[in-house]
Symmetry: C2
Subunit: 330 residues, 2 copies
Amino acid sequence: MKMLINVAESVVADALRGMAAAHPELTVDVENRVVVRRDAPVAGKVGLVSGGGSGHEPLHGGFVGPGMLSAACPGEVFTSPVPDQMVRAAAAVDSGAGVLFIVKNYTGDVLNFDMAAELAADEGIRIAKVLVDDDVAVTDSLYTAGRRGTGATLFVEKIAGAAAEEGQPLEQVEALARQVNESSRSFGVALSACTTPAKGSPTFDLPAGELELGVGIHGEPGRERRAMMTSREIADFAVNAVLDDMSPRNPVLLLVNGMGATPLLELYGFNAEVQRALTERGVAVARTLVGNYVTSLDMAGASVTLCQVDEELLRLYDAPVRTPGLRWGV
Amino acid sequence: MKMLINVAESVVADALRGMAAAHPELTVDVENRVVVRRDAPVAGKVGLVSGGGSGHEPLHGGFVGPGMLSAACPGEVFTSPVPDQMVRAAAAVDSGAGVLFIVKNYTGDVLNFDMAAELAADEGIRIAKVLVDDDVAVTDSLYTAGRRGTGATLFVEKIAGAAAEEGQPLEQVEALARQVNESSRSFGVALSACTTPAKGSPTFDLPAGELELGVGIHGEPGRERRAMMTSREIADFAVNAVLDDMSPRNPVLLLVNGMGATPLLELYGFNAEVQRALTERGVAVARTLVGNYVTSLDMAGASVTLCQVDEELLRLYDAPVRTPGLRWGV
């Protein structure tokens, strides 16, 4: 498998150097692997810290900036960052108003953020945590006890980020983040496996002519394999899987997310089918985001995330955001 | 080859339906295949129209909006749109101040935009045209007489779009677009071929362990094939190819563009090497853009575009833009 890299060992450091060069509005600490918004800590405002394995870009580093994350800690590819990174990030962004850790539900991330929360508390930083576990495909998996955290992470980071930017207190930012997670469900499909730099070959074996329904963002197995389906059939399957697990009475935010290697042309076409399926099920879509946001390296495929929103969540979603990966209203 | 589509015949129409659903701020005419900013025509302002084969998204439809294109005409995949689309787009955006056609240098596009310019003139619309031909890799190719138009299209559309938004007259917007093209050079590499929906198999055969240096955005052959190179070596090759053809005295805009299937993690790492190579050659970078902007379906690879800017071009580049694919300052 060919990659645009030097050596596997330096992939994350190289990417951080390139991110630093492209984004002078961020402080990128390449050595310690922390990406921080340049104006942190912001007086009187709660800091938001997330992180996880690399390979899901723009998540999380690309979501650092006014209106979203205060800092991100990238681990090695598909590997949790370590507590030291998280504590360093918390210290960099804490203005005294406290810090919220946004943690995708993978065993390594959960353990390391737990440890970091203790260490940061020892340093006098007030820490709250929220777990993201939106993926309805499977319960328990290769990397997870319970459900996996996937596309809803974007909505949690966006909405909690807007609340923090407004100066809402830690308890309220935490409660909002929890509400967003509880209001969100996701389902993903893979048309191809991804290849990590360290392994150099596909992480799983997906035969020609088959797709994986319910795949995770590291290529973890899903619910089942089937003969290749049309965009329409996949949209129906994904929407049904999500709606089997939630019954939105309010409008939803819709994320039609590419896994990395699926062309935008196909993602837009898939969005048309997802919207049709939602309309048939009586679900109103308030906002739609189509693109590669929570990726899995070079995996082909897509995921669908719905987040049920009330007026307040929608207002916070629409609030200005200025990050490399998501930007509007400013 | 698996794709997230219904049938090859409906790929473009499906994508436009999905685009319409995701972007209420655009008017998407699915039947006639024209994407127009919703507030067009804007009184007193020059209209900017571009277009070309689909498969390069977000180019061009994703660059429609305030501060960039007024309208885009998507053709079938890798196939020029037809004059009817272009005339319809020109009529939709002309406020009386005239319309600039921005044409990538491919034989079909050039012929069709020429014909459209005559037809639009017959309808009383003042038309100017600018040709984009920035790719230094080859002269003449499968689709082209002269050089191909690739990454510089983004800079031409952005800077001419800002000038039009300010109310600059047609002659001046045209002159700026021409200046941007003449100040820009690009070079691309492919690590894999792309697959068109109609063909269903890779457009060319690239053996394992080799890369194509100087590839076009339709997978047209480049300068040569070599055994796979590191990110550092590819950056040196691309930067040298570009700088063999231009000697920037001023700072440059840098676009490190993904061809579609290369992960953002790798693109950022590649950016670090491109910046190093430019520093070694004494070239100052004023602004950097890293991401998938001028793509080639699911091709893996990247391109490097430099655009030498004076203070005025830089000011126009920095001006607010609000499109699905490029957005800042608003």
